[in-house]
């Protein structure tokens, strides 16, 4: 038995490195294949095949999945690495989205500012800043909000922290819903939202609403950057400090880990990813709509982290892709198939919370460590039961 433990955790750095390489290659290849397929093959396929792909694997849902990978990895830093339960992550997504709405649209039409942006032809009014710059601004903006929200709340212990983040997750989207008159200023356009959002520009090329395969590539690159960042952070000094706090806060403090600063930094990094995801998502759906930022999103992103395997970058990535696809496409299509075959009229997407809830309960009962668990967790959880099963 002790041999198995050593095999599993001995020379972990070496094993982890080859493992990471395999996953990274897999991720990159999948992205390239999907892009090449839609760019070069798709249009020359027969109509029924095209319909099949448009129904089951549309580019919008693929792009959305990549944005969810980015955000789930951001939440993974808070929940998986530092062990702080955050039930209001949607707030950062919303904040990032509105940064895109403010800086990449004709919304503030009394001003005409263009800084490397790409306003629609003939509509130069509003603030139009370059997408890449807005990504950075959005990330920084939400990082500041992460610190503002985190500073008073992170002193709280687990359950209380979860409750307060839940509150913030409700307050910020509500503010956006009701923000059409903030002291006389229309800040959010209320429930109508802000649309359209400017195109993404890359070296002078503009990618608009129909260049979805290119947008998919861009979102995949963002997700890839987040994967690299997550891996680097985990193995660094800060990652160790987060891990120590997750394992035992008091002991971490006795090792000299500054608790507040370390927790705040996890919150800020997580918030940054949420903000960048928000900006990206606004460009995907070509708008910012307050009612999309609801509590359910916080739970879905949390489910991605938990199902995939808290703390494991690749597990969270898989969890995000699968749940995002089920949420945006899978459930609808599956419902169509069932309804078509049985002649019923069941609204499957309306059951998505039943399904996510069931999934979470099942996971907690049978596989608490997630689909692809973090190596650390695997050994501990199966210490006494099925060591042979762990590999």
């Amino acid at each position: 038995m002790s041999d198995v433990i050593l095999e599993d955790s001995g020379v972990p750095v070496h094993l982890a490195a080859t493992n990471n390489r395999k996953w990274a290659i897999g991720f990159t290849l999948s992205v390239i294949i999907i892009f090449a397929f839609y760019q070069y093959v798709y249009t020359s396929l027969p109509g029924e095949v095209q319909n099949f792909f448009r129904a089951w694997l549309p580019l919008t849902s693929l792009g959305e999945a990549m944005i969810f990978v980015l955000m789930a990895l951001g939440l993974n830093i808070v929940v998986g690495y530092a062990g702080l339960l955050d039930l209001g992550y949607v707030a950062f997504w919303a904040l990032g989205g509105y940064v895109a709405g403010w800086l990449m649209s004709g919304f503030f039409d009394s001003k005409t500012i263009n800084f490397g942006g790409h306003p629609p032809v003939g509509l130069p009014n509003g603030i139009h800043i370059n997408f890449w710059l807005v990504l950075i601004i959005g990330g920084m903006f939400t990082a500041v909000w992460g610190v503002i929200i985190g500073a008073p709340t992170l002193r709280l212990k687990s359950d209380y922290l979860a409750l307060v983040t839940l509150g913030f997750g409700e307050i910020i989207p509500q503010f956006f819903v009701n923000g059409e008159n903030v002291g006389g200023l229309n800040l959010t356009n209320g429930t109508q939202g802000i649309t359209p959002i400017d195109d993404i520009t890359v070296f002078g090329h503009a990618f608009g609403v129909f260049d979805l395969q290119w947008k998919f590539l861009i979102y995949s690159a963002l997700a890839g950057l987040m994967i690299i960042l997550s891996l680097r952070l985990r193995d660094g000094r800060l990652g160790r400090a987060w891990l120590a706090i997750r394992e035992d806060e008091l002991a971490a403090s006795m090792m000299g880990v500054p608790l507040m600063r370390t927790k705040l930094s996890s919150y800020a990094v997580g918030a940054t990813a949420g903000g960048v995801g928000g900006v990206a998502f606004a460009t995907l759906i070509n708008g910012v709509f307050a009612e999309r930022f609801n509590f359910a999103i916080s739970i879905i992103i949390l489910a991605m982290v938990v199902l995939g395997g808290m703390g494991n970058v690749w597990g969270v990535m898989i969890g995000a892709v699968i749940l995002s696809w089920i949420n945006s496409t899978g459930l609808v299509q599956f419902g169509n198939v069932v309804n078509g075959a049985l002649g019923t009229n069941i609204n499957f997407p309306s059951f998505n919370f039943l399904i996510f809830g069931l999934l979470l309960v099942m996971m907690m009962l049978f596989r608490r460590e997630g689909f692809i668990p973090e190596a650390r967790t695997r050994v501990i959880m199966h210490e006494t039961t099925d060591h042979q099963g762990a590999h």
């Binding site: 002790s2 001995g10 020379v11 035992d248 006795m254 090792m255 000299g256 608790l259 050994v379």
Partner: protein, 246 residues
């Protein structure tokens, strides 16, 4: 070296001066004064709830005294946050071990050196700790949570040593261990002192603690009940019967 008070004539390293510590309305430590001199093993003994752990947590900066002050090497440290106190050279092996169970033994030891940057010296200290506890060397890549209680205790002490403490605080290092391991731990504590580290030891196993300590303080319900050279206390049958559960 020892004077007739049982103490070394070295300078005072840790000076706890008349501190009171409270959890809300409940005062856990009342007007406690104690000090530790360089190179000593000082033990703080007393029954459950006597205020031992509260005192240690206050020294480590996890709690703030309601009144009184604590100074370390002449500098007042009461009110300083915990992580800065570690940086000043006070490292604690907490009660209940509290090792990082999902980290390997090696990673736990590295965490102990979290505030240090001198990689060569960290490596040397790691070798020193592994020499002190050869059992940890055998388990170096194992997840700490899968080890036995005794091994975890060795790790907790080793981890605290990795911070290069000037003052090592050990909170109940013998708790829950088999007698043979208790002896091993106490032998190791003496060895650590002989290598130049000052030690403040809290124990419920009072007699064992008195055997290796120079000086002892006995706490009861948050008050200092008596103090004296460890050997005198251990040899006084009346004191042993009254306070030390002997």
């Amino acid at each position: 070296m020892t004077t007739d008070t049982g103490r070394l004539s070295t300078p005072v390293m840790l000076d706890v001066n008349n501190i009171s510590v409270a959890y809300g309305a409940i005062t856990a430590v009342k007007g406690l004064t104690l000090n530790v001199r360089e190179g000593e093993i000082v033990t703080l003994i007393g029954s459950n709830g006597a205020g031992k752990s509260t005192t240690l947590r206050t020294i480590s900066g996890l709690l703030k005294p309601k009144s009184g002050e604590i100074s370390f090497k002449g500098e007042i440290i009461s009110g300083t946050p915990g992580h800065e106190i570690v940086a000043k050279g006070i490292c604690q092996s907490p009660e209940g071990r509290r090792i990082f169970s999902r980290m390997t033994v090696e990673e736990n030891l590295e965490m102990g050196a979290f505030l240090r940057n001198d990689h060569a010296e960290i490596k040397a200290d790691m070798d020193r700790v592994l020499e002190l506890f050869p059992r940890l060397q055998e388990r170096i890549h194992q997840k700490a949570g899968t080890m036995s209680g005794g091994e975890q205790q060795m790790l907790a002490v080793g981890r605290a040593l990795m911070g290069q403490p000037k003052l090592l605080i050990l909170d109940e290092p013998s708790m829950g261990l088999a007698p043979v391991l208790v002896d091993l731990i106490f032998e190791t504590i003496e060895k650590i002192r002989s290598q130049g580290t000052t030690i403040l030891l809290v124990e419920q196993n009072a007699l064992a603690a008195l055997r290796i300590a120079d000086y002892a303080y006995v706490l009861e319900s948050g008050n200092l009940k008596l103090e004296g050279p460890a050997k005198e206390l251990a040899n006084d049958q009346a004191i042993v019967n009254a306070y030390l559960g002997g």
